[in-house]
């Protein structure tokens, strides 16, 4: 018999822990078992929604990519979409293709970071090195020549199109990088996904059932790993996704391994999308003429996209001023890291906590905003 009063103690996971990012979960533990988990966010809260109320759409394009450092271009894209819809703009075809290509590259590099983190959490340093190494090809050969900076594109995807055209030798670079990514997928298959140790540590850990996934508001790879076939790119298409052919990977297990594996399959699909988009990309204009001092139209819009972590959305209200009246940002990690994680950590072993945490494809920055 155990004395309940003495048996529990509280263990903070994070914020200063190399495996947790800037986020804390307070774990109430009974020996090795987690009885209750309680998330404590707010280490990165900057108040984006209010910052955007003080800026014009073109200024906001630069602010928007800071929402999540790991996938800045996705956030650029969703912001641009929200403004485009309020203004009723139909942007040039070429801009749509450029947006899609960059968004998919962003997804790939974000997933590579995810795998690196996952390998770290399961005690596999090599995976960490490989993932970050391959990601650098995208930063160095795609993002830097196109947007001008390795990480932050400073509003490259802006309302009305993109800031400037692709560089001349983009084709060559793009196909070279895709070849590298293929290698990366091969490497991860060999070293991570077929590795018995990795399987042992992730299979059957942190199982999220179908009903719970819906109830807790999971989206993106997390909900697809639980057996629900949904993807904003197909269900609620934006840009040119309805013209492209790609599959939506789904798995039924709902455990940490299947979440990682969904990410791996998504990389393959993203490469397919990029190849198609590269072939079909038309020539022509890359942006509408946008007056920086324009007044926005009166109205509201709700733009959703499929970011690497799940559904990213912006709700924007405009009263016809130069600045939006209200912006609401919906970050996928906000739900993944608080309700879903709290639910999954319950009744788990302490040793599994980092694995589960990393399998959520986390980004504390878009949770806090």
């Amino acid at each position: 018999m155990k004395d309940k009063e003495i048996g529990f103690y509280e263990l903070p996971f994070g914020p200063a822990h190399s495996g947790s990012g800037n986020f804390m979960v307070k774990l109430k533990v009974d020996g090795e078992r987690v009885v209750e988990a309680r998330a404590d966010p707010g280490y990165l809260h900057r108040g984006f929604e209010k910052l955007m109320e003080y800026r014009t759409p073109l200024q906001n394009a630069v602010v928007a990519d800071r929402v999540c450092i790991l996938e800045p271009l996705s956030w650029d894209l969703v912001h641009a979409e929200a403004v485009d819809e309020i203004m009723g703009w139909d942007i040039p075809e070429r801009a749509k293709y450029i947006r899609v290509i960059l968004a998919e590259f962003t997804r790939i590099q974000s997933h590579l970071i995810w795998f690196s983190g996952g390998s770290m959490a399961t005690g596999f340093q090599t995976g960490f090195m490989i993932g970050i190494g391959y990601r650098d090809y995208i930063l160095e050969h795609i993002f830097e020549p196109v947007t001008g900076a390795r990480v932050y594109p400073t509003g490259y995807i802006r309302p009305g199109g993109v800031r400037w055209d692709l560089p001349k030798d983009f084709d060559k670079k793009c196909y070279n990088v895709l070849k590298k990514i293929e290698k990366a997928v091969e490497d991860f298959d060999k070293l991570l996904f077929s590795n018995p140790v990795f399987k042992e540590r992730t299979q059957g850990v942190g199982v999220l059932s179908k009903e719970d996934a819906i109830r807790l508001g999971a989206t993106g790879p997390i909900i697809r790993a639980s057996g629900i076939e949904t993807d904003v790119r197909r269900d609620d298409p934006y840009e040119i996704y309805d013209e492209l052919e790609f599959n939506i990977p789904v798995m039924d297990e709902g455990d940490a391994y299947s979440r990682f594996f969904i990410g791996r399959m998504e990389i393959v699909e993203s490469m397919k999308i990029i190849r198609q988009a590269m072939e079909r990309m038309p020539r022509g204009e890359y942006s509408l003429k946008v007056n920086p001092f324009m007044k926005m139209k009166k109205g509201e819009s709700y733009a959703r996209i499929e970011a690497a972590r799940g559904e990213a959305a912006i709700y924007m209200v405009s009263t016809g001023d130069r600045k939006p009246y209200r912006v609401k940002i919906r970050g996928p990690s906000f739900l993944h890291l608080i309700p879903v994680l709290e639910f999954l950590l319950k009744d788990q072993q302490i040793a599994d906590v980092p694995t589960i945490y990393w399998s959520m494809n986390t980004c504390p920055a878009d949770m806090d905003r």
Binding site: K50, R326, D368
Partner: protein
């Protein structure tokens, strides 16, 4: 009853394909959301608040997505600014509603009746007005808190100040 019938009486506007907006009075919202959930709007995409300070109202928006019909339905309702209280939808959408309401409670100071836990989320030791309300002068607050008038470097923030 299909979902179209549930909202038919409230003049929904169709903005474009897959985007429908509807305004519903405050006391009906809970029942309608309950019915919509049963009809297949299972995913609470987001819950947001707009502060219409000139009107003296808060507008609460529920963005619902249906995996079945592939429609994004936005339900909007207005409550008085003075008496910022509304029934929580925690019993309908469970934890996903809980976390959104907790956030809105912190940032706008709206009371969600029936929500089990509305403790602060992002801010530690905050004792000003809820920061996202329109009458909280954000820039004035920043200026007086962080920028020193005497400091040579920071003087500019006091002299030139964008509104």
């Amino acid at each position: 009853m299909s979902w179209e019938e549930i909202i038919k009486d409230y003049n929904p506007t169709i903005q474009r394909e897959r985007r429908i907006w509807v305004n519903i009075p405050k006391d009906k919202v809970y029942d309608i959301l309950q019915n919509l959930k049963n009809e297949g709007f299972e995913h609470l995409s987001s819950l947001s608040v707009t502060d219409w300070i000139d009107e003296g109202k808060f507008e609460i928006t529920y963005h619902l997505w249906s995996y079945k019909f592939k429609v994004l339905l936005t339900v909007k309702t207005k409550i008085d600014r003075e008496e910022a209280k509304i029934k929580s939808i925690y019993p309908i959408y469970d934890r996903s509603a809980w976390i959104h309401e907790r956030e809105m409670h912190e940032l706008f100071g709206i009371e969600f009746i029936g929500n089990p836990d509305l403790s602060p989320l992002f801010l530690e030791d905050w004792n000003e007005k809820p920061p996202f309300r329109k009458d909280f002068d954000w820039r004035e607050y920043v200026r007086s808190k962080y920028y020193n008038k005497e400091n040579e470097r920071e003087k500019a923030y006091w002299e030139v100040w964008l509104k």
